[in-house]
């Protein structure tokens, strides 16, 4: 799997490269500014074989402006190549940015706090999920998203357990992962999921990724 990394702090860039390599991912480019990132994403410098990478790990704040350069480059690249998998990392997470990343309706999006790289297994898992067209939303984003849906009657009708399942599902986790996290069987997760979709009046789907996007679209409406 070919990965592009955009991170301006050398230590973190180096650490990420090593961590991904240790888990068998190939880092084809590690850049430190927005312009080079955009070139690596849509230009031909994305790797030896050329073409876009399988996934990009991007810091929001990059030179030269040190504002949201990385985010804007990622959004621009995804406008040109819809569904191009991008995992955005940041020192802080904002619902506004999560919305912008999800707005296209395509999968292949991740938005995580930088702290999440502390747990390398979980982090690499998230990278693989995004590369496969899935989603990886930070628990903090989802917590705030759920909080802003507090007034919603349908969300209010969910049982506490269903709410837990909803939160994990919105993070982008598969039924198997949710079952493992909540120490329940996959079948009971599937039951909760069906109930959630019924209560939120959403079209059920067998496809994990499509299900996650439907839930996020509902919470973000």
């Amino acid at each position: 799997m070919r990965v592009v990394i955009a991170e301006d702090l050398f230590l973190l860039r180096d650490g990420l490269t090593r961590m991904l390599a240790a888990h068998g991912l190939e880092v084809t480019a590690a850049v430190d500014n927005g312009e080079d990132l955009l070139k690596a994403l849509i230009g031909d410098s994305g790797g030896d074989a050329g073409g876009p990478p399988d996934v990009a790990v991007v810091d929001v704040r990059l030179p030269p402006t040190f504002s949201d350069e990385g985010l804007r480059a990622a959004l621009a690249a995804r406008r040109q190549i819809p569904g191009l998998p991008v995992l955005v990392l940041s020192q802080y997470v904002e619902q506004l940015y999560a919305r912008e990343l999800l707005a296209s309706g395509h999968g292949g999006i991740g938005y995580l706090l930088k702290d999440r790289v502390f747990d390398s297994r979980q982090f690499v898992d998230a990278v693989r999920r995004v590369a496969a067209g899935g989603t990886a939303m930070d628990p903090e984003v989802i917590a705030r998203l759920l909080a802003s849906n507090d007034g919603d009657d349908r969300v209010g009708a969910l049982s506490p357990r269903e709410r837990d399942v909803l939160a994990l599902m919105a993070e982008g986790r598969s039924n198997a992962a949710i079952a493992q996290r909540l120490s329940v069987t996959e079948r009971s997760v599937a039951k909760h999921t069906a109930s959630i979709f019924l209560k939120l009046d959403l079209q059920p789907s067998e496809d994990d990724n499509r299900r996650v996007l439907a839930v996020l679209a509902y919470l973000n409406r």
Binding site: G34, L38, V60, R61, T65, S67, D68, E69, R72, A73, A76, Q91, Y92, E94, Q95, L96, Y97, R99, L113, K114, D115, F118, D119, R144, A147, S148, D150, G151
Partner: protein
């Protein structure tokens, strides 16, 4: 080829002079025209005392009319006077103020003389009548506007209109001279004239027949004189206006007092803010990092002998470092919110609305970015207002409207909650007032019991042009 050029070269200063004179005449005339409006507004302003005076006069008069009729008439006049006093004073004063402001602006545009304004900030968007009246009458600048209006409406305008009067008189003389000299229907031309309001008619009418060439020459001289004196007349008028319209010592003293006060408050709150940050760092992230260091040290000691215990300590260290990061994040958000730094005020307020837990409809359009301190003050003010809504208003629906117009950044934050908010109650609203006052901004709160509540902030500021980068 060079000859015509030379001729135009010679004529150029003259032509420029004439053009300048005519422009100055037009401007003088326009300025003088304001006097008519001022006169009307002055009459409106004093309508109440005039009517009441009339009422008293009617009462005191003893012409043989019926006493009952006399009393009724006086009462009607008195009532009209009282009503006029309530209805007319504020619009009349505001009208006079706007005319004075217009004059100041025209002086700046036309004569290049900037006359400062020193009006007190308005009490809010929709204050009650007595507050508006007090705001207007207590302002020394209003007294100045009144004096200026009285002077301008009586004789001031004559100075501005001097050259126009001379020119009109000159042209009338020329016209009548020409018609006497060449015209066949001179008597008709003359019978039409006396009715017109222009000044020199009596002169024209009584001129002896045969004095026509003299009349034309005099007219030409008068018109030329009018053009020639126009710039001087305008300058004289400008001088007079400047003396009467410029703010005096009292306003400047008041302004200095206001600035000193807001500066002190800004410095105080800045210092308090720094103390808070220091304390948060000391008790939070710093302490956690010390703990991380100690835990790592302990893990190092144990790793050879008790690897399981060491692993538990490492997990603990990782958790503590994540907590330290979370605290630093919260702290940074409180100092300078990331979206504000990245995107500016409009998006930062959108992000704030998303995070508020309320359902907030945001309309935010800014053609550029205000200075960072203004952005920051506006952001935290909105933050505080949204927090107030979720704490006290008992509603989840709010509206924010952010826009920039004529040098003012205006933010309305409204909710359909229970109302009854009072700045005197809490420190929050007072804090917002203080924040925006540092930029000469104001906060107006309209919150009747039962709601809805509308908080309006206006901060005068300039916008920088948006960045041209299209990425």
């Amino acid at each position: 080829m060079s000859e015509p050029a030379m001729i135009t070269g010679q004529w150029r200063p003259l032509r420029r002079g004439v053009r300048g004179g005519i422009t100055a005449t037009g401007r003088g005339l326009a300025l003088a025209g304001l006097a008519a409006a001022q006169l009307g507004l002055l009459l409106l302003l004093f309508l109440s005392p005039i009517l009441i005076g009339l009422a008293i006069a009617v009462l005191l008069a003893d012409h043989g009319i019926d006493v009952r009729q006399q009393v009724v008439l006086a009462l009607v006049l008195l009532a009209a006077g009282l009503v006029a006093g309530r209805l007319a004073a504020v619009p009349a004063l505001l009208g006079l103020r706007n005319l004075a402001r217009l004059t100041r602006r025209l002086l700046g545009d036309w004569a290049g003389i900037a006359v400062a304004e020193a009006y007190q900030p308005p009490p809010g968007p929709r204050p009650p009548f007595h507050e508006r009246l007090y705001w207007l009458t207590s302002d020394p600048a209003t007294r100045r506007d009144l004096i200026w209006s009285a002077v301008n409406a009586t004789f001031g305008w004559l100075i501005a209109a001097l050259s126009a009067i001379a020119m009109v008189a000159g042209f009338l003389l020329i016209a009548s001279g020409l018609s006497r000299q060449f015209g066949t229907s001179e008597s008709q031309a003359f019978t039409a004239k006396p009715g017109s309001p222009s000044l020199p008619n009596p002169v024209v009418v009584h001129v002896h027949p045969g004095g026509a060439p003299l009349q034309i020459v005099t007219g030409l001289a008068l018109a030329t004189l009018g053009v020639a004196i126009a710039p001087w007349a305008l300058r004289g008028y400008t001088g007079l206006a400047r003396i009467l319209l410029a703010p005096g010592q009292a306003e400047l003293t008041q302004r200095v007092y206001h600035l000193t006060q807001t500066r002190t408050e800004t410095i105080d709150s800045g210092a308090a803010e720094i103390r808070r940050i220091e304390r948060d760092l000391h008790d939070g992230a710093q302490a956690r990092l010390v703990a991380v260091g100690m835990t790592l040290g302990a893990a190092e000691d144990l790793i050879g002998t008790q690897p399981d215990a060491a692993r538990a300590l490492l997990t603990e260290a990782r958790t503590a470092s994540a907590q330290a990061l979370a605290e630093l994040r919260a702290l940074v958000r409180g100092i300078h919110p990331p979206v504000l730094a990245d995107r500016g005020l409009a998006d930062a307020i959108r992000a704030l609305a998303l995070d508020s837990g309320l359902k907030v409809d945001v309309i935010a359009e800014l053609p550029g970015r205000p200075q960072p301190p203004v952005e920051s003050a506006a952001y935290f003010a909105v933050c505080e207002l949204l927090a107030n809504i979720s704490k006290h208003a008992g509603t989840r629906q709010a509206w924010i409207d952010l826009h920039y117009e004529r040098g003012l950044l205006r933010i309305d934050v409204a909710d359909n909650g229970s109302g009854g908010a009072d700045p005197a109650d809490g420190t929050g609203l007072r804090g917002i007032e203080r924040r925006v006052a540092a930029f000469d901004g104001i906060l107006a709160l309209n919150s009747p019991v039962g709601g809805p509540t509308v908080a309006t902030m206006e901060i005068p500021c300039a916008l920088s042009l948006p960045k041209t980068s299209s990425c």
